[in-house]
């Protein structure tokens, strides 16, 4: 296993190709030296400004960090473009035919981006420690910033790779591509620059709005839940890694079970981490994650091919280990596998809800903690309306689109209705529309769409928070049974051709 991993990294064809191309690309080296020179020049100018004499160290450190951030952005942008070129050249299928596993391809890409980043990092970090000699800086902070960069960069690299791999796919529609490109343009430079500047803010303000939350993840001061933090970080990286693999996977050889498993385990670890830190005050953060993860997972992967792809089935047959077989069963690609994963999410939601009720929550915490229980019901609600129509049973894309459109349109419609019911005109005594209109609007919003349920659940104080949990528990179970029924009907339709 260790040998295979080492071989996968050091004798990786993709890594060899990308590094060979990188070393032959002189523009890149010129750009790096230019950036470094620019950073140094700006630092020197800033240091010579009146009033900055006492803060030479932090200023130099800040600008070196910014240079590093810019360099990281250039590396990521080049990785992004290189990956897009692979799609336009249609080379991924040549790697596939060469028997290269999807993991090896993505690992090669990620490691090549990291190697390029580390090249710049090791060129710049010595200057950062030189900045320490200028005074005004804490040595531990420099080390922590450097560690933060090293830890955050792989996440951003994986995220950008994931976007690049999805944007170029033919199955992503044009508006989705435009949205993803806009998100990439906004997000990646923003994060890269903030990553660099965050350390500067930390140095001056003890943690900025962005820097504080990101760097607290890697803070070595709080060691109580360090194992969970590391586990969350590793799982999140793996999740992005397998999302990348799944993006380039041919239909017969998907990596859907890894994606589902990691979505579940990241959610569970996040709940555990929140539970360890500040429960129940932080519980909504865990609950949002659970609710959103199960809704998105279900909406995208439940209306899907029913049986796992052939290569995945063969891989499962060859497995001797019971745990691996169970893993294959619980997170199998296809609708039935997604249903099992949603069931696990439901169980996790029950545990989270019970944990919240045990800790004596406020009525609002109690009401919001039961939300994830209802996710299967929302997933069931829109496809069931289409089940009488034969065409919908075989068209998974239609089911998926209808689910998402239903959530959005019905959700917005109910919110408008609820807003009207909440308006002063309606609530005026003697208007004829007293409390029960508001109650019905709230009830519809809570039951019919996750969008309206989320918003109305936050603002509405019905006074039945304790019974809301039971209602959501039951509706979630009904949703799971309903989803099983839908999957069986779709299977029957698929077999009848």
């Amino acid at each position: 296993m260790r040998w295979r991993l080492a071989n996968g990294v050091f004798d990786n064809a993709m890594l060899y190709k990308d590094i060979t191309q990188w070393l032959r690309n002189r523009t890149f080296l010129a750009l790096f030296i230019g950036l470094l020179a620019l950073g140094e020049a700006v630092s020197a100018i800033c240091m010579s400004l009146p009033g900055e004499e006492g803060r030479l160290g932090p200023v130099a450190f800040g600008f070196l960090s910014a240079t590093m951030g810019l360099y990281g952005f250039v590396v990521i942008a080049m990785g992004f473009m290189g990956t897009s070129r692979e799609f336009s050249n249609r080379t991924f299928e040549l790697y596939e035919i060469a028997g290269m596993s999807l993991e090896r391809m993505v690992l090669g890409k990620v490691v090549s981006i990291l190697v390029q980043f580390l090249f710049g990092f090791f060129c710049i970090v010595p200057f950062m420690f030189f900045a320490f000699l200028l005074g005004g800086l804490d040595f531990g902070l420099i080390g922590q910033s450097a560690l933060g960069m090293v830890l955050i960069f792989p996440l951003i690299a994986l995220l950008s790779l994931c976007i690049a791999l999805n944007v170029r796919l033919k199955r992503v529609s044009v508006p989705a591509r435009v949205l993803l490109i806009l998100a990439a343009l906004w997000f990646i430079p923003g994060v890269a620059i903030r990553m660099a500047m965050g350390s500067y803010y930390l140095a001056h303000h003890g943690g900025g709005a962005w820097g504080g939350s990101a760097f607290s993840l890697f803070s070595l001061g709080n060691t109580d839940d360090l194992v969970l933090r590391i586990a969350l970080y590793v799982q999140f990286c793996l999740w992005l890694f397998y999302l990348c693999c799944n993006s380039i996977a041919p239909p017969q050889d998907s990596r859907e079970h890894q994606v589902k498993f990691l979505t579940f385990s990241v959610s569970a670890t996040w709940v555990a981490l929140v539970g360890c830190s500040n429960w129940p005050a932080m519980a909504p953060a865990a609950i949002v994650f659970l609710f959103v993860a199960s809704c998105i997972l279900g909406a995208i992967l439940f209306p899907h091919r029913l049986d796992p792809p052939l290569m995945v089935v063969n891989r499962r047959k060859r497995t001797r280990w019971l745990t691996v077989r169970l893993f294959h069963y619980a997170f199998a690609p296809g609708s039935m596998g997604t249903l099992r994963t949603l069931f696990l999410f439901y169980l996790l939601s029950v545990v989270t809800y019970l944990a919240v009720t045990e800790s004596g929550p406020s009525p609002q915490e109690l009401a919001s903690s039961s939300r994830p229980l209802q996710a299967p019901f929302f997933l069931f609600l829109s496809p069931v309306l289409l089940m009488p129509f034969g065409f919908a049973r075989k068209r998974y894309k239609t089911l998926r689109a209808v689910t998402i459109c239903y959530w959005a349109l019905v959700g917005v419609g109910l919110l408008i209705l609820y807003s009207i019911a909440e308006s002063p005109g309606f609530r005026r005594p003697g208007s004829g529309y007293d409390g029960h209109v508001r109650a019905w609007a709230a009830l519809g919003s809570l039951m019919l769409s996750p969008v309206s349920s989320w918003v109305v659940g936050t603002v509405y104080r019905p006074g039945f928070e304790s019974s809301l949990g039971s209602y959501r528990l039951v509706s979630g179970a009904i949703g799971l049974i309903g989803l099983l029924w839908i999957a069986r009907r779709c299977r029957r339709a698929e077999r009848q051709g």
Binding site: A13, Y16, N89, T91, E93, L94, I97
Partner: protein, 318 residues
């Protein structure tokens, strides 16, 4: 070596490949012909394990693409209709990259790459950048890439497309050499005359369905009902007399006098009748300079076969 049974691939409402079956032995060179959109590329991609069939089975060396796709990939050399090359890489780097991808042992890599470059004639330009190569050279590099794992079956999708006549001749020579090495070659092309020269077998498909499969001679023979005969007379003034002579003979149809003493007619009879007919014409006093049955070209075969299917489908009998 390659066995395709009832292969079907459906994209939405389109049957790209429809119940296709054929079999190739080791060392066979099979030409794969069909009009655009006939399902050639889809069939080849399924054989190369890049697509999943809707139904049917494909076996390479006795192993199923459903059960052993990874092992089959090691036995196949696939040349798609695009190059997939990179800037900033030399020919040697490019092949080194694919040798790594195929997990060829580091010690054996250089030897294998040198051997393939010699075979494909790239040895002299090993350190030239890929972007500087001509189209013909890139196609050779593409072929080298497909050969890097020493495949038993070569699947080549339109390898001659866009090549100049010289490069096409060289490619033909390379394909014949591959067959002599015992490799099975399954090649599609639009340049039909070339295929008839290098292939042992032909598979013709249209709208995903098999129209004809067999040796080149079998397909050409199966197409014609009798023979198309071309006659050339020394004295063009005898043409009218020869027309009268021929139309009185049984089995002769469609007599068409041409210019400069040339005449064409169809003979719906056995081959033995041809020399007898020539003897009769000479005995009648016609000064015959040329008398030969015309062999239909692959273009004729292709046009007639696909024309028949289109006509049959359209119902216009075209």
């Amino acid at each position: 070596m390659l066995k395709v049974d009832n292969l079907t691939k459906i994209f939405g409402k389109t049957r790209a490949v429809d119940d296709l079956s054929f079999e190739l032995e080791e060392g066979d060179v099979c030409g794969f012909i069909g009009p655009n959109g006939a399902g050639k590329t889809t069939t080849m991609r399924i054989i190369a394990t890049l697509e999943e069939p809707t139904d049917g089975q494909v076996r390479v060396g006795g192993e199923s693409i459903h059960e052993e796709p990874y092992r089959i990939r090691r036995r196949i050399g696939f040349m798609p209709d695009h190059y997939g090359t990179y800037p900033d890489m030399t020919c040697r780097d490019y092949l080194e990259f694919y040798a790594r991808a195929y997990e060829i042992e580091p010690k054996a890599r250089a030897r294998r790459i040198d051997g393939i470059m010699d075979f494909t004639g790239l040895g002299d330009i090993a350190d030239k950048k890929v972007e500087e190569l001509s189209k013909g050279m890139r196609q050779r590099l593409n072929l080298s890439r497909a050969l890097i794992n020493d495949p038993k079956l070569m699947v080549m999708d339109e390898p001659a497309a866009g090549l100049d006549p010289r490069a096409r001749v060289e490619l033909r020579y390379l394909i014949r050499n591959l067959a002599e090495q015992g490799k099975t070659v399954f090649v599609s092309s639009h340049i039909l005359t070339e295929l008839s020269e290098i292939c042992d077998h032909m598979l013709i498909i249209d709208q995903g369905r098999k129209i004809s499969f067999g040796s080149v001679e079998e397909i050409q023979r199966g197409l014609r009902e009798g023979f198309e005969i071309r006659v050339r007379l020394v004295d063009p003034s005898q043409v009218e007399g020869l027309v009268r002579f021929l139309v009185q003979r049984p089995g002769i149809q469609d007599v068409r006098p041409g210019e400069n003493g040339v005449l064409l007619f169809s003979l719906r009879d056995e081959a033995e009748r041809i020399p007898a007919l020539l003897r009769e014409a000479v005995n009648e006093g016609f000064s015959v300079m040329e008398f030969r049955p015309e062999t239909p070209t692959m273009e004729d075969v292709f046009m007639r076969i696909t024309g028949q299917t289109n006509g049959g489908n359209n119902g216009n009998g075209a």
